[in-house]
Each structure stands twice: as C-alpha cells, then as structure tokens.
Amino acid sequence: MEAPELNDYREHLLDALDDQPRRATEERPGLLQVLVNHERVGMLDCAHTDPSFAFTARERSIQHLEIRSESGVLIGGCVAPEAGHKDVRIPVGKGAATIHVENHFDGGSLQVQYETAPRWWAHLAAAMGLPSETSKPAASATPIWTMTTAFAQIVLAVGVVALLAERVPSWMGSDDRAHQLEEELAARQSTQEQVDRVHQQLAQLVEAQAAAVAISRSEQERIAQLNNLVDTVTLAQQKLNTQVVTVQEDLQTVKTGVAQEVQNGIRVAVSTVEAERELVRQDLQSIKSVNETLIKQVALLESRNRELHARLALTSLEVAKANAAPKSTVLAKNDTAKDAAVSTPVADGLRETDRQAFMFWVAFQDGTTEKSIEDLVQELNGIKKGPMKSGWYSVEVNLPKPEPPDRFLESVKRAKIVKSVVTSKAMPPAQ
C-alpha cells in the first residue's frame, strides 16, 4: 500500500522536475523575487524604467542566489564562492537578468540587472543606423516616453481618420466590400497595437512614478528613523544625567549619615568613659577616706599603745618603789633624805632608760595651717625644735624603747597633712 503511494509521489516529483525548465521559460517577467542564502531579500521589478536590484550582505557571503517569480517558480540563480566574484546571465522571459556577485569572507554584494529583449523597431533602427533606445541613458527615459506617447496619439488619430475615410465610401457603397474589410481589419489591428503600446508605456510611466514615490517614502522613513534615534539618544542622556544627580544625592546622604553615626558613637563612648572615670574617682575617694579612717585609727591605737607603755613604765616604777619602802624603814632615818635624793635620780634614770629621744624633719602639705601642725605635734607628744627652715620643721619626740623609729615615722607619714618625713640624722632637703 505504501510503496505504490511512494512511487506515485516520486513519479510526480520527477515530472515536476522535468517540467521545471518549461515553467521557468513560460514565466512572464514582472516582479521577481530575489533570495540570498534561502532568505528573501527583495524584489526586482522588470517593468521598472531602471530594472535593477542591489543587495549587500554584511555578516555572511552570498553563497546561494535564487531568482523566483512571484508565484515561486525558480527562474535562475547560482552558487557563488565564499570569496571572489561570479557573473551569471540567466534568461527571464524574452529578456535576461545579469547577476554579479562579489564576495569576501565576511559579507558580499549582489547586483542584478534586468535587460529587456530589443523590440522590432530597435532592430529596424539598428538596420537604419539610428541609435537604439537601450543605448540611451536612463535619465532621459521620461522625455522619451512623453515623446513616444505624443507620437502614439498622433498615429492613433491618423489611424482613426484613415479608418473613417475608408468607412465613409463603404457606407456610400462605392468600393469593393472585401477589399474594404481587409484594409479595415489591418487598420484596426494596427490601431489596436498602437493603443496597446501606448497603454504599456503609460503603465511604465505610472510604475516609474510609483517607484519615485516609494524612494521618497523610504527616504522619509529613514529621516524619521534618524529622528527617533536622536530622540532616543537624548532621552537616554537625560536619564543618565538624572541618575548621576540621584547618585550624588545618595552619596551625600550616605556621607551625612555616616558622620552622624560616627559622632553619636564617639559621644556615647566618651560619656561611657566619663561615667566610668567618675565611678573610679568615687571608688578612689571612698578608698581614700577608708584609708584615712584606718590611719587615724592606727595612729590612735599607737598613741594609746604609747600611753599604755608609759603607764606600764610608771606602774613598774611604782611597783619598784613599793618593794623598796619596807627596806628603807629598816635603814636609818637620817638616810631618808639621801635615799630619797638617790631614789629620784634612779626613778628618773629608769624613765630615761625606758624612753629615747628621737628627732626628725617633717614637711607639710601646702596650705596646712599652723594649728593643724601644732595639733599633730601635740598628738605625737613632740616638741618643735626651732623655726621652719625651707618648709621643714624639726620635731623631737620621746619614743618608748620598744617602738622602733621607722615604724613611728611610718605612722607620721600616714597623717593627712604630712607631705614628707626624714630622720634627724639626715640634712633637711633643700626645697
């Protein structure tokens, strides 16, 4: 079932191929389609005053060229080399199309020129030695057509007059009927040919005008496209400017924001540091006050300790006295004054041996009042020795034997108003 259908189809295609040259020859030149690389690139109007077509390919060379009629019949074409040129002349109806392809590797150009077959009067003119119509430049075509139209009209008028002149006698019935008919027929044919020719020329004229209008329109289109392009570019430029301004504003905003944030950060950090510093200062002050309180307590305890030492010494003296009293009653009564005189130096001697004199130099804080100085000296049970010399006071105290001088000096140094303390052995430092 399938094979016969396929064979029929194949046969039909072979017949179509067989028939192709005939179809191509029978095609009347009119509008020809130009296809480059299987893509339609334009039309060639053979009835145009200047029937030519040009095309330029920019990316690919022109490899396949096809010329087809409006109904799609393949009339001619060629395969051109990728680089180089190719010239082909193909018959189109009674005329011919000259194809010139110029290729290079990244493009190519095409030129198609249609040439009509020379007409019988051209041959006649050639035989008579007159210049042919096709040899004249294309620019003079329009006046030629105008002249030809006028000439055709005159011929037509003459023909009509001749016809009438021939007809009138026939209406009168004076001439041979058959002869008249023959001449009439010939005249009619001639007139008809002239009329056809005039029509054809008029049609060509109209087409030329249409082509000129089309060219003018295409130019207008191009100008309009250019204007659109300029408008687009201007619009794009305006947009760009607006964007630049926007970006600048954004940058300014970002800068201001960043500066404010930095300042805020610094302010917060500074205030935090200040608060911490204040806390530390308060802590230091509280520590200092606690320290002073402790110093005072230590000083008080030391003074009490000294008092206790003194009392102990006194008590031990009294105990010694109490022990010596029964003996003295046993001894002679006249020795009482002497014993008393002797016992007093012993007691003094004991006190002298229990206590030691200690002299040191002390400098006080600036702005310390004399009263404060006196109070301290009294508190230490000391005596100021001499006037102040270069900010230094010499003070002498009696220290109980067990108390070492260094420890005593340390306690003095802890006093709030004391700036510095040195021992009496050293020279008072120069201020």
Partner: protein, 320 residues
C-alpha cells in the same frame, strides 16, 4: 518514459546516463541533455543524502512519512541543481550535486523537522509555510488558510492601496488556479489525506484549530528566518505608526504572515478601528478560497467549512 522495477523503483530511459554523471560535462547543452535524462538518479542521490542526514541527526523513522519528507527535500535540492548547474559548466554533475547538498545541510537548522509536523495537518501547514517563503501567492493566501481572511480582508488588514490590492487579488487567483494544487502535490499530501483533513475540520473544527494554533509557533519560528534581518517584531505603537504613516508594505506582508502574535495584535487593532470588535483567531482552511467567495470573519463558525454543503462563507458575485 518510465517503467516499474520489481522492487518498486522506477526505471527511466535516462538511467543509462548515470555513469556519465561522474564525468566532466563541458557545454551547457550537454549538461541540459544529461540532466534531463538522469533526473531519477539525481533525485535518488539527493533523497539518499537527505535520509543520511536525517539518520545522523536522529531524526529518521522507517515509515512512509519520513520517506516522503526525504523525497520532498531531495526534490528541492535537485530543482536548484538543475537551475544552478548550467552556470557551473564545465563540471562533474554528481560532484556538483553533492557539493550543493553539503552546502545546504551545513546551514544552521536547514530543515524544518518536528515530529508533530509529520501528521497530515502538520505536513499541510509545513507545505504551505515552506511554499510561502518562495511564493508571494502562497504568502498572501496564508492569511486565508490560517485565519480565514479573504482578499478584501487581507487588503484591509495590510492597509494596501489600489495598485497593491490588485496584486493581492491576482495572488489569490493564481493560488486558486494552480499554486495550491502544486504545493499539495510537492508536499506529498494525497487526495485521501486532504479529504480526511477536510472531514476532521467539518466534524471537530475546534480540535483541529487548536492543533494548528499549537503547531504554528514551531513552523513560524523556522520559516520566519527567511525575512530580512531588519524585520523584528514591533510594539503595538510602532505598528500603529507604520500604518498611520503608510510605509513598510513588504514588512507588513512578510512579518504578519509569519508571526502569529504580531498578526493577532495588528488584526485586533485594525478590526477594532473598523468597529467590528470581534477578536481574530486561528481558523484553518484546507482548500483555497473559491472564486467569488467572501468570508464572514471572526464569527462563531470557525473551521472554514466552505467546501461542503454547510459552508460558513457567504458567497458573493462582487468580489474576485
């Protein structure tokens, strides 16, 4: 002129010339004679190479549809060879054909192959579109076969003047007389297949139109490459400007015939301007518009049943 062989192949008188196809041909006359008598060999060679290409690109199937497809493309290659070859003399015909085929297949995406285009409706649409690339008659009548537009509607849609509208009428006339039948023959659609399509359009028009609507983008994206590169899709505003300023006539024909989206947009706009108000839609027609036929466009009767007794078109004697 030909006789059938037992294996189904056809023997032609020119087959004896096949040996000479490898030899150098020196004159145009000799070329013409040899080619005319060796057409079966040339067609078989071109078909064979097309099959090989399809096999190598995994697009081949062992069925009659693929065989017909290969024959059709082989035919197109040989047609070009016959016409171009005269300009290449002196040459070796087989070598020249091979180089022509190789050049064709080396093009990007050389064949419009899609499995769904192998159905009868797919082949019908593909045949129309591939013909429209080379034939203005087929191009203009695409508006009728795809959307049901008559000559008058096409002229109105494309905004043509008097001279160009005459051409449109001529295109319809030529297509009706010979173009459609030739295209069907060259596409390989048999009479029975066309009849089946016609029946389906009669019984299930919506289904078939939906199928066409689905396949159109595949077809058009392949064949739209045949238009000049400066023909892109336009915005609605640009289309409006193009019609208002009355330029780009070629552009309108080529682009709107091969771009469904732009067609719908422009047809809708121009239809609205004509105060009809009905939306354009896909409306498949199998046969060409009959002489004197005028269609009722965009009505509820999609399907173009103009060939049967229940045809939807109104007939008028006033149009061509």
């Amino acid at each position: 002129m030909s006789s059938k062989l037992p294996d189904g192949k056809t023997m032609r008188d020119g087959q004896i010339f096949s040996a000479r196809l490898n030899n150098v041909v020196t004159t145009e006359r000799e070329f013409d004679e040899l080619v005319t008598k060796s057409l079966p060999e040339l067609l078989d060679r071109a078909t064979g190479q097309t099959k090989r290409f399809l096999r190598e690109t995994n697009q081949w199937g062992d069925d009659i549809t693929h065989e017909k497809l290969a024959l059709r493309w082989g035919y197109e290659l040989v047609e070009r060879f016959v016409v171009f070859g005269r300009a290449e003399v002196p040459c070796r015909p087989f070598f020249l054909l091979d180089s022509l085929i190789a050049k064709s297949f080396s093009q990007p995406d050389p064949l419009c192959y899609h499995k769904e285009l192998l159905t009868p409706v797919g082949r019908f649409l593909d045949g129309l579109a591939s013909r429209a690339v080379v034939s203005r008659d087929a191009l203009i009548t695409l508006f009728y076969h795809f959307y049901g537009f008559s000559q008058a509607h096409v002229v109105k849609l494309l905004g043509f003047g008097q001279a160009e509208s005459q051409r449109v009428y001529k295109n319809f006339e030529r297509w009706r007389q010979s173009g459609w039948q030739r295209t069907m023959n060259e596409t390989g659609l048999s009479g029975s297949e066309i009849e089946v399509l016609e029946q389906e359009l009669l019984t299930r028009p919506d289904h078939l139109n939906h199928e066409v609507d689905r396949l159109m983008p595949v077809l058009q994206s392949h064949y739209r490459k045949s238009e000049p590169e400066h023909y892109p899709c336009l915005s609605e505003q640009k289309w409006g400007q193009l019609f208002h300023d009355d330029y780009g006539h070629d552009y309108r024909v080529w682009h709107l015939a091969f771009c469904r989206d732009c067609f719908m947009e422009v047809a809708d706009r121009r239809q609205t301007e004509a105060s009809n108000g009905l939306k354009p839609q896909v409306n498949l027609h199998i046969h060409p518009l009959k002489k004197g036929g005028v269609l009722a466009l965009f009505g509820g009767d999609r399907g173009g049943r103009h060939h049967g007794s229940t045809r939807a078109q109104r007939l008028s004697r006033t149009s061509a």
